[in-house]
């Protein structure tokens, strides 16, 4: 037998079979969800609640059986297999099989049910999808992948889902029917991002100098930080409402503003509110980033003959960048969520669908607004994580 003296103790256990308590828990929950919750529901029309389709009825379809087979394999895998890439692969495949299976059973199930009948995704679909997502997350975390690779995996998964959706496989599911009713879906997405990022640039232009100021002057800091935290405590709906009033009065006094597109309701109060909310994370993280710099490095820069401006641009800002970027991450994810609330005051974006859907009790319309909002926030956070990683690497 060859000697494996270079092997780390415990590595052999890691390479073979284990018993994973987390995997066992998630598997049990998945089985409970599969048995108790309906994967799909049949709705008589768009508004009325649906009736769950029995599991045995679903098991007649070969694509669903394929999904069930893969699911059992995955549940066993996450419980006993210790290689994380195997777990990740199994869970991802199963999720894809779930998406394909629910799509392919729609049209046979809807046969002879009338023109208004819809097949909707049930709580079982979301619960199993979420649990598979958790298994994937756990595998990715334990593999210790960098943000770049996580971004690649998420992009591939999203690409796979989009290609399934655009292949027409899900066309008979109520969510896609709802999507086809909304011609402005992608335009709303653009507007959502425009509103979320529209306030970030001015907030950076004002917040970064303010943050550097707070780093240099204790007096400015004791004044600014509590003031900005106070702004942050104001609930978003109240902030939108309070900003509507001066803006409305202004536009009544100066109708010219109206022609510029500035109105009491809509985008103007939303962007202004987001700008105010964005200041605290930017200012405090800029100040914290500058506080954390090693004075010896700045002394060295001075010794090399750099003037104050050169030190700021070539030494301090690049070194403080990772901390500043994590402030930006807070701002961007927060703004994407808050733009959804701005749908209430006519700001546009995916919030429009959420509140329209709530008003009409149309679950699919609510989902059509909620899911893209979550995806946007999630991807934006991951992109910034990748930027943070690069900025750390450059720093060495």
């Amino acid at each position: 037998m060859p000697l494996v003296s270079y092997q780390v103790p415990g590595a052999s256990a890691r390479a073979g079979i284990t018993f994973d308590r987390l995997g066992a828990t998630l598997s049990t929950l998945t089985l409970i969800a599969l048995v108790l919750l309906p994967v799909v529901t049949l709705q008589p029309n768009r508004i009325l609640p649906g009736e769950g389709v029995e599991l045995e009825q679903l098991a007649r379809y070969p694509t669903f059986m394929l999904f069930l087979g893969l699911l059992i394999l995955t549940l066993t895998g996450v419980t006993v297999v210790s290689r994380h890439w195997i777990r990740l692969g199994l869970a991802t495949l199963t999720l894809l099989a779930l998406v394909v299976a629910t799509g392919s059973i729609a049209s046979p199930l809807l046969d002879n049910r009338g023109a208004f009948a819809r097949l909707a995704l049930g709580s079982g679909f979301w619960a199993i999808g979420l649990l598979l997502g958790l298994m994937m997350t756990d595998a990715v975390v334990k593999m210790g992948l960098s943000a770049r690779w996580r971004l690649v995996i998420v992009t591939v998964c999203l690409g796979a889902i989009v290609s399934v959706l655009s292949s027409g496989l899900w066309d008979h599911l109520s969510l896609m029917l709802e999507y086809r009713n909304q011609e402005r879906f992608w335009a709303q997405g653009g507007r959502h991002l425009l509103l979320a990022f529209g306030s970030v640039l001015p907030a950076l232009l004002i917040g970064v100098p303010l943050g550097i100021g707070c780093h240099r002057s204790a007096a400015l800091r004791t004044f600014m930080i509590p003031l900005l935290s106070l702004l942050q405590t104001i609930p978003s709906l109240a902030m939108f409402g309070l900003l509507m009033i001066p803006l409305t009065l202004l536009t009544q006094a100066f109708p010219v503003l109206n022609e510029l597109g500035i109105r009491g309701i809509g985008a103007a109060p939303a962007v202004l509110a987001l700008f105010l909310y964005s200041l605290l994370p930017i200012v405090s993280n800029t100040a914290a980033g500058f506080d954390g710099l090693n004075p010896a490095v700045i002394d060295a820069a001075r010794g090399m003959g750099m003037n104050a401006r050169q030190r700021l641009w070539q030494v301090q800002l690049p070194l403080a960048l990772p901390v500043m970027l994590s402030g930006l991450r807070i701002v961007v994810t927060m703004n994407i969520g808050l733009v959804a609330v701005a749908g209430l005051i006519g700001g546009g974006g995916y919030g429009t669908y959420i509140f329209q859907g709530l008003g009409q009790t149309a679950t699919d319309l609510v989902l059509l607004g909620t899911l893209p909002t979550i995806v946007l926030a999630f991807v934006a956070a991951l992109v910034i994580d990748t930027l943070i990683e690069f900025s750390r690497k450059e720093r060495g």
Partner: protein, 245 residues
């Protein structure tokens, strides 16, 4: 010292006084708000008293955050013990992922699950409230130094005693910060909860938006904002007090 104390007490009491004044005597401001209301429309929201609405709003927040605190703190304790180590990496990254989840999305998703009314709001407040408390409890527990824990072990304390008498008291200020963050976020989310028919101050703002009545929007907005400020200031005081002892 005396002066800074006075300043911070003013910071709490001034918004509290304004809040109480508005809650009981908003009608005295009618002449001021009149120009903001449309012709012939009421100036002061009258479908429910502000005291009632504040009560509902606070009750939703406290029920949700009290239960979220119990669950989140126990979960954080569990995953930081040797027995829960398998769950720690996933729990950490979930807390991180959860922060990218917009509160309004949680609220909107709760409606299809349980219908309209107070329930979806309670569920959204509860779920979203878990994250800051869990994360801060974990951070608080992990910042207790190994030497301190070792010393407690040396004194012959059992694991349970170490947790109750050493780790939790040391982590408490950070935990309270998490609870404060959760409460402030919840006050905001509960305001949006009025769109799904939960009782609370949001309904004044929503009524104003629906009927183009800026007077309603203003009074609702000011009362919610003041309430959030008072809660924030009070909880910061509690935090300070604990940190000092």
């Amino acid at each position: 010292m005396m002066r800074s104390l006075a300043v911070t007490w003013v910071g709490t009491l001034a918004p509290l006084a304004c809040l109480l004044y508005l809650a009981v005597a908003a009608s005295t401001l009618e002449p001021l708000l009149m120009p903001l209301a449309p012709e012939g429309a009421p100036t002061i929201y009258a479908r429910d008293s502000f005291i009632n609405l504040i009560g509902w709003h606070l009750m939703l927040v406290f029920i949700a955050i009290a239960s979220a605190s119990i669950i989140a703190i126990s979960a954080a304790i569990l995953v930081s013990r040797p027995a829960g180590r398998d769950f720690l990496p996933l729990a950490r990254s979930l807390a991180n992922l959860g922060q990218t989840l917009p509160p309004v999305a949680v609220l909107a998703l709760a409606v299809p699950a349980v219908g309209f009314g107070a329930w979806p709001t309670l569920i959204a407040l509860f779920l979203y409230g878990l994250l800051p408390i869990f994360e801060n409890t974990l951070a608080g527990l992990s910042q207790v130094s190994a030497e301190v824990k070792e010393a407690a072990r040396g004194l012959g304390m059992s694991p349970l005693q170490r947790l109750w008498q050493v780790e939790l008291p040391l982590a408490l200020p950070v935990i309270i910060t998490g609870v404060r963050l959760s409460i402030i976020i919840s006050v905001g989310t509960a305001t949006i909860g009025s769109t799904v028919a939960a009782k609370g101050l949001g309904e004044v703002i929503i009524a104003g938006l629906l009927t183009d009545n800026l007077a309603f929007v203003l009074q609702g907005g000011i009362i919610v904002a003041l309430m959030a400020m008072v809660l924030d200031a009070l909880l910061r005081k509690v935090e300070q007090k604990i940190r000092r002892t």
